[in-house]
């Protein structure tokens, strides 16, 4: 049986006013497709790592979105980056990039040069192009 990671969790309160969103904004800026996620959990169902452990990528990025960062970096290290989640995602979220970038943001790695594809595309650059 697959464990989807859904279990009765302790009651908790989310104070949306206190949520620090700079990390989330940074993630949205780096992985724009993140906002398309509908939380279907397909990524978790297909996940190779989830077959062995309670690694739950859907849960992780939901927690990240709610600015609950405790323990996430340790959780994210379990990912094998195999890319199955990418292929099953019905919304075309770039899940691998999401994982790599969450790790970078949580580790406070300078991500100034890390930009989504659209901005990297240079216009009218290069030599002659007939």
């Amino acid at each position: 049986m697959k464990k989807f990671g859904f279990e009765i969790s302790k009651g908790r309160q989310l104070n949306f006013d206190e949520m620090k969103s700079d990390k989330v904004n940074k993630l949205l800026e780096m992985v724009p497709s993140y906002k398309w996620c509908i939380g279907c959990g397909g990524c978790t169902a297909a996940c190779s790592a989830a077959g062995f452990t309670d690694f739950n990528i859907r849960k992780i990025h939901t927690a990240f979105f709610r600015a609950q960062y405790e323990g996430l970096d340790e959780q994210l290290n379990r990912c094998m980056l195999c890319g199955k989640c990418l292929l099953v995602c019905p919304r075309g979220v770039n899940t691998r990039s999401l994982i790599i970038n969450m790790r970078r943001i949580l580790a406070n790695v300078d991500t100034v040069t890390w930009r989504p594809q659209r901005e990297l595309k240079s216009k009218n650059e290069g030599g002659n192009n007939e």
């Binding site: 062995f52 970096d73 379990r78 094998m80 292929l87 890390w114 594809q117 595309k121 192009n129």
Partner: protein, 603 residues
Amino acid sequence: MNSDNFHLFVLPFCIGVLFLLIFSVWKYWRWIRGFDKLQRAKIRKNIWTWRFLPAIWEAFREGLLHWRITKKNLLLGYMHRSLAFGWFLLIVVGAVQARLAFPDGHPLWIAIFFNYFEPSYSIEFPQAEFYANLMDALLIYVLSGLFLAMFKKVWSRPLGMKRTTRHTLMDRVAKFALWCIFPFRLLSEAATSSLYGNGGFMTRWLGNVLSSMGVADPAFELTCWMLYSIALGTFFCLMPFSRYMHIFTEVFLIYFRQLGVRDSDRKTGYTMFELSACSRCGICIDGCPMNRELGIVNMQGVYMLQSVRNLELQKNAEPIAENCLMCDRCVADCPVNIDLSVIRRQVRIKNKAAIDNKNGYGYLRNVQPFNSIGRVAYFGGCMSHLTPGISHSMEAIFNAVGQKYWYMDKDETICCGRPLLQQGFENQAFELRRKNTEMIVNSKATMLITSCPICYQSFKKEYKLSIPVMHHTEYINMLIESGKLKLRKDDRRVTYHDPCELGRGCGIYDQPRNVLKATTTLLKTKEEREHSLCCGFNLGNPLLDLEQQTSIRNAARDNLLAPKPDTIATACPMCKKAFQHADNVPVKDIAEIVAENIIKPNN
């Protein structure tokens, strides 16, 4: 008469040569000292063998004749050859000429500025006339290449290049100096000829033209020689800082490669040789799917090497290195055979060092292998869990030939580690490799068969397994050749998509084709084998969005659909998945096609 053997105008040339010599020796010495242990061991092992012979041949063929470029485009090959081989011959024949004219020896510059120092040579040695004409012919040869190079700058398409490289300022200045050298040489020789009537057919003719124009003047002659010397000196001084360093570096690179040296995951002295051996010809740009389908032209091999080599461009190295499908198309196209993907991976590894945490895989500790003495191990790979038809077909094939097997990742997969390594997480990839190696070794399986080309390349190149590793197309081909597997031929017409990792990555082109020929009618496509197009869904580029991946996929699909096949065949679960929803034509893995056509031995 210029009877002296020295004139002040030779100084810029001499300074240039001296500077180039000292600087190159210093640079090469530093790079060679920067080789890592493995590379040094290779050199020590192979240096006293005959490997320098193929190296000399390859250096002559590629450094001077530019054979690989000629195969791409005749005119482009001619351009490079005339500049390289033509100039080389000018130097060699010039040296012979000077030697004949000055049997007692002469300073270096005499050979370069021969016509100035020996204006009356025609009575000095017998074949003088022949040599003068030969030198003129060679100069015309070089000038014709120069003309093509100028033409290419305006319109590159007739030379087989849609796009050319955008060069740095230093490269442009150096190119300008190079382009000045040969016209100035012609002009100086003509100016001397207008005064003394020496030289070959062309210089004499041009000299007469100059005389008739009334510019036969020693001051004009000296100016021309001075400009020629300055152009040479400038070019030599700029060479170590520009792309023209490739001229000498390529020779060293070829030699080291013949000695068996390969690049590693860290930047070493050998990487420096590779960086400098790139001539920035820009041939890598045209084939790149990122350019062809998305119009992104700032991340190809040439720019990646530039950003790693040039200090002021190093801030771009990270986004450039990340923004690549790693499909190896540029590696196949590169006329210098630089291992671009390995260098790109070096940059990625450097970028990921801060988050490359290997402690996350504790959960794999309790995964145990199956005792499979006398069995083969079958590794479907992560992706084949999303295309179960492939693994089911492989099981059917194993059963049909009576081969006992252990389906390693039937329930849960431990990734092979290559997707991590491609992204630069080398420590994490190492952990997964260690676990998989442990599993395979402890299972005592006799052979490893995998359905995923990514895993295949990883097992083949990155793991150090003592048992044979095969991709399933290789395995099926072996079964057919040995007669163990009998297949019926159906009337399907198929086109085959070469997966990047299997074809360009591992050189497996013929086995899948042989299998397909045994069961179906295989059609040719326009771009196949090493020129095959990436399906776009490969895991190399984390920055592409779905829409961009799809447009790369569509280009590859259109290439496959052009001969109007009944089925598209591929050998990679990822490519299968990519093409699956693209069109009404069914997409099948080779294993599936084979499983449908097995003739059971009992009927």
